[in-house]
């Protein structure tokens, strides 16, 4: 049933749409090398790089589209790419 006026009442419901399958390359973050400059966190168009409870940045592959901005912007080369094998 379409809502009256096609209003969407569930904020952020796009999370139902997992965009991880869009990737050709997967960014892999080496937390050992990471200096926590937050570049990858702030530049990610999906907002899918977040800190975990230990303060380490983690990539959510459910949504990562593999744009590799994070890799490109990492000042210490802590992020590398690997080909997705489909």
């Amino acid at each position: 049933m379409v809502t009256i006026g096609a209003i969407i009442y569930e904020p952020g419901s796009s999370i139902k749409n997992k965009t991880g399958s869009w990737r050709t390359f997967r960014p892999v973050l080496d937390n050992e090398k990471c200096v926590k400059c937050e570049n990858c966190y702030i530049f990610c168009p999906e907002g899918c790089i977040q800190e975990d409870e230990n303060g380490d940045f983690k990539i959510d592959y459910d949504y990562c589209k593999g744009c590799l901005i994070c890799m490109n912007e990492c000042p210490v080369n802590a992020i590398t790419k690997v080909r997705e094998e489909k």
Binding site: P11, G12, T19, E46, C67, M71, N72
Partner: protein, 295 residues
């Protein structure tokens, strides 16, 4: 700077990998916070974030049409005022009313409604996410398309070498409205953009921010370069960062030494038809502009 952690722009949206518009939205909401109402013009951002029944927005959001994000926001702002005054709605919260539109929806078809809203003094922020062409419909030129850039309606042909007019300076036109705050920004400088949004929202009245947002599809570069290209646009002086607060002009980022525009142009397919002579013309044009701004 510790960036605000709250994510008000959800993943799962349909933006291209490496989408600059998504970065604009995410940074904007980080700066504005949850007490914000967004009026979004038709365009890439609107389409990619709200295919029914899904939305990437975690703040109240409205889209009505292409040319009227500012007019729609006028109504929202007026209603918020009236409902606060007459019915005690929103408690004592300060509600940020923000209109956002692409360069087409802002500088072209939405220009009249933008001018009207700014002139009327509504307490709102208008954010123009500038990707320099109509990306939603497949890269047609807008008045914000820069000189000699190729688009599908300003193709590089044997007689005409891409867009034959310089980029329309919307920020300066907004400044001419005498509004209290106008700024340019670029997603490659997130601290600067967030600071400007926060500053704008702290000022009462109409505010305008033009934020440059490279587009991987429209400009023709690999998606991982979105931030790098934006940075080059600023470092070369192609897109200067400044703010005009109560008429006071201030450059907010001055490159130590401007890089040659060639470095910026050569990374993008939309400029690949340029000859050395063309590049020289662009360099000259940028030099003159920068001189004027004191860059």
């Amino acid at each position: 700077m510790q960036f605000p952690r709250e994510e008000l722009f959800a993943p799962g949206h349909r933006g291209c990998a490496g989408c600059g518009a998504a970065i604009v939205a995410r940074l904007l909401l980080k700066a504005a916070g949850k007490d914000t109402i967004i009026s979004n013009a038709t365009g890439c951002l609107e389409v990619m974030t709200t295919p029914y029944p899904e939305t990437a927005w975690r703040v109240p959001w409205i889209h009505t049409a292409f040319e009227n994000a500012a007019a729609t926001a006028s109504g929202v702002e007026a209603a918020v005022k009236a409902l606060k005054r007459k019915r005690g709605k929103y408690k004592d919260k300060k509600i940020n009313v923000i209109a956002i539109g692409g360069d087409g929806g802002t500088a072209d078809i939405g220009f009249q409604s933008l001018s009207g809203a700014m002139e009327r003094g509504h307490d709102m922020l208008y954010v123009m996410y500038d990707n320099e062409a109509y990306m939603n419909t497949g890269i047609q030129r807008s008045s914000s398309t820069p000189f000699l850039a190729a688009t599908t309606t300003s193709p590089a042909g044997s007689k005409i070498r891409g867009e034959d007019r310089p980029k329309k300076d919307v920020a300066m036109i907004m400044a001419a409205h005498g509004i209290p705050y106008v700024a340019t920004a670029c997603i490659s400088y997130p601290e600067d953009f967030i600071r400007k949004v926060k500053k704008a929202l702290s000022i009462e009245g109409p505010k305008f921010i033009q934020v440059l947002q490279p587009c991987t599809t429209g400009w023709g570069y690999p998606p991982e370069k979105t931030i790098e290209i934006g940075r080059l646009a600023v470092e070369t002086g192609v897109f200067p960062l400044y703010e005009i607060e109560n008429g006071e002009f201030r450059i907010t980022y001055k490159p130590a030494k401007r890089k040659p525009v060639r470095e910026y142009l050569k990374m993008q397919k939309r400029y690949r038809h340029l000859t050395d002579e063309d590049i020289e013309r662009i360099q000259k044009y940028i030099d003159e502009k920068c001189k004027l701004l004191g860059l």
